[in-house]
């Protein structure tokens, strides 16, 4: 049994079908990327898995249990981090733990652990407006990881960052995954991000998964330069590009 099962979910807004039957399974510890043009339904799919939206039909199971609504078995990383401006770094990381009902001193200790994991010990007492975009998103990741979810869901987590910061965070996420072995699903429109981070890339188009492409790069992926120049990397990057391109052409036709 797969760790996360998405079974034929659909979502309609009136006559518009945002999702027209999406199914996929994710094994424990796997990283899956959802990629596709804007409006293909990738974010809607992620939001349904999180429970922020309800599917018109179909169901989602985490570790065998069907989910309804939000739950601490899933942790969400938002596109623009969405930190609470009145909380400092440590207490933003602790937010999910507080909602889970954790009390002091365990709360601070756990939050500290994840603060260290994302390398922000020195920014412990800062408020979000004193953090750079990359730091904010690291806090966002730590906040989601802190509740120790079965699945980490990320909605274009690095889309709003400049390319250098983004690559830095790719490295960060790869090492976090190596340490925590979390199951991760992330939405992206960046080919390099998809190939670098994912074990499988689901190419979406018009509310459906048109293709699932496995990325056979060994883990842990610590040497990003070597991966970038590897044959598998450029081969899979081309494959995904073609899949996206074909979908685009058939849509235009």
């Amino acid at each position: 049994m797969a760790h996360l099962e998405v079974q034929n979910i659909t979502k309609s807004f009136g006559t518009h079908h945002a999702l027209a039957g999406v199914s996929f399974n994710v094994e424990k510890g796997d990283v899956v990327a959802l990629i596709g043009p804007s409006g293909c339904g990738k974010t809607t799919a992620l939001r349904i898995i999180m429970g922020l939206e309800t599917a018109t039909s179909g169901q989602v199971k985490v570790a065998g249990r069907p989910v309804s609504g939000c739950g601490h078995d899933r942790g969400m990383v938002f596109q623009h981090a969405e930190l609470l401006p009145w909380r400092n770094t440590l207490s933003n990381i602790g937010y999910g733990l507080e909602m889970k009902g954790m009390k002091e001193p365990e709360l601070s200790r756990t939050a500290m652990h994840y603060l260290e994991l994302v390398g922000l010990t020195l920014a412990k007492d800062r408020r979000p407006h004193q953090l750079s975009g990359g730091m904010k998103q690291r806090v966002g990741i730590a906040r989601a990881l802190a509740i120790d979810p079965e699945v980490l869901l990320m909605d274009e987590p690095f889309g709003a960052l400049d390319s250098q910061t983004r690559e830095g965070l790719h490295g960060e996420l790869l090492s976090i995954h190596a340490k925590t072995q979390k199951t991760i699903i992330f939405v992206t429109h960046d080919l390099d991000e998809a190939v670098m981070l994912a074990d499988r890339v689901a190419v979406m188009h018009a509310g459906k998964i048109s293709q699932i492409i496995p990325i056979e790069l060994e883990r842990p992926r610590l040497d990003m330069r070597a991966i970038r120049t590897s044959a598998e990397y450029s081969k899979k990057r081309t494959l995904i590009w073609e899949a996206l391109h074909d979908a685009g052409v058939s849509a235009a036709a």
Partner: protein, 278 residues
């Protein structure tokens, strides 16, 4: 020759830089004080030529102020006015803020009750004072009710619109981490709405001041509003200006107090906007 012009040019640049720094380095309070001093001076200078029935001037007002202090008339009036003012305003805040939060948060409440709040804000409530006198008499109660009615609506409406302005994604953070409705209200919506609540409290002070003076005009002639109307009726213009200016000063001080309160309860806000609230 070339060096000469260069030196001149650089001197000119320096002077320009010096001027720029003058306009930016003078503290704001110095400019404000200067402005008030000039305005008062002009009033004093030209006001002395005006018929004392029709106008007055600062030194006459100050004289009247001290003579009213000596007789104790001013203190008594201040106490009479401030009690219903404080009670009415605080009750307006205690009721207005939660009602605004609920209207902004729950669609059903908003559609059912929002219309009354909007209508109440737009109604010339002063016109209801004669009716309120029939209900609440001429004393403390009617004054407090008028203050309450006038300050409740701006406080409530601002809070309500503040809740509507909270970004949807910020609330989703709460939802995604399984926060209860109360936790979302207290932990996300309330802190995010504080700047709007404070703006409402500030507008409420202005309205409450109008409320107390009008109430004192129309009910038992008492308090600071009472002094205004009795002095005006007997053409003691300088005496009339004493409570007017006193009320103005107190209202400005109260508004500043709300600004200070905002910095105290929401310190992140002035950090983000980068300037102090006025």
């Amino acid at each position: 020759m070339t060096t000469d012009t260069e030196i001149q040019a650089s001197a000119r640049v320096e002077r320009r830089a010096g001027q720029a720094s003058w306009t930016t380095t003078v503290p704001a309070w110095v400019i404000t004080t200067l402005s008030v001093a000039v305005a008062t001076g002009l009033w004093e200078f030209f006001g002395r030529d005006v018929n004392p029935l029709l106008g007055t001037y600062p030194s006459a007002i100050i004289k009247a102020f001290f003579s009213m202090l000596q007789t104790g008339r001013l203190q008594d009036a201040l106490i009479q006015s401030s009690q219903p003012f404080i009670v009415g305003y605080i009750v307006a805040a205690i009721v207005g803020i939660p009602v605004g939060l609920l209207l902004g948060r729950y669609r059903i409440l908003e559609s059912a009750l929002g219309i009354y709040v909007t209508a109440g804000y737009a109604t010339p409530l002063i016109a209801l004072v004669p009716l309120l006198i029939l209900w609440f008499g001429l004393g403390f109660m009617v004054k407090a009710v008028v203050v309450f009615l006038l300050s409740f609506f701006p406080i409530c409406i601002n809070t309500w619109f503040g809740v509507k302005a909270v970004p949807k994604t910020m609330i989703e953070v709460g939802t995604a981490f399984c926060a209860s409705q109360t936790a979302i209200m207290r932990g996300i919506i309330l802190p995010a709405t504080i700047p709007y609540i404070m703006a409402g409290l500030r507008l409420g002070i202005g309205k409450a001041v109008i409320g107390i003076v009008i109430a004192e005009f129309l009910t038992a002639i008492s308090g600071l509003g009472g002094i205004i109307i009795t002095s005006a009726n007997s053409f003691r213009t300088a005496e009339m200006f004493v409570p007017v200016i006193l009320i103005m000063v107190l209202a400005v001080a109260l508004t500043a107090l709300v600004g200070w309160l905002e910095k105290y309860v929401a310190p992140w806000q002035s950090e983000i906007t980068g300037h102090d609230s006025v």
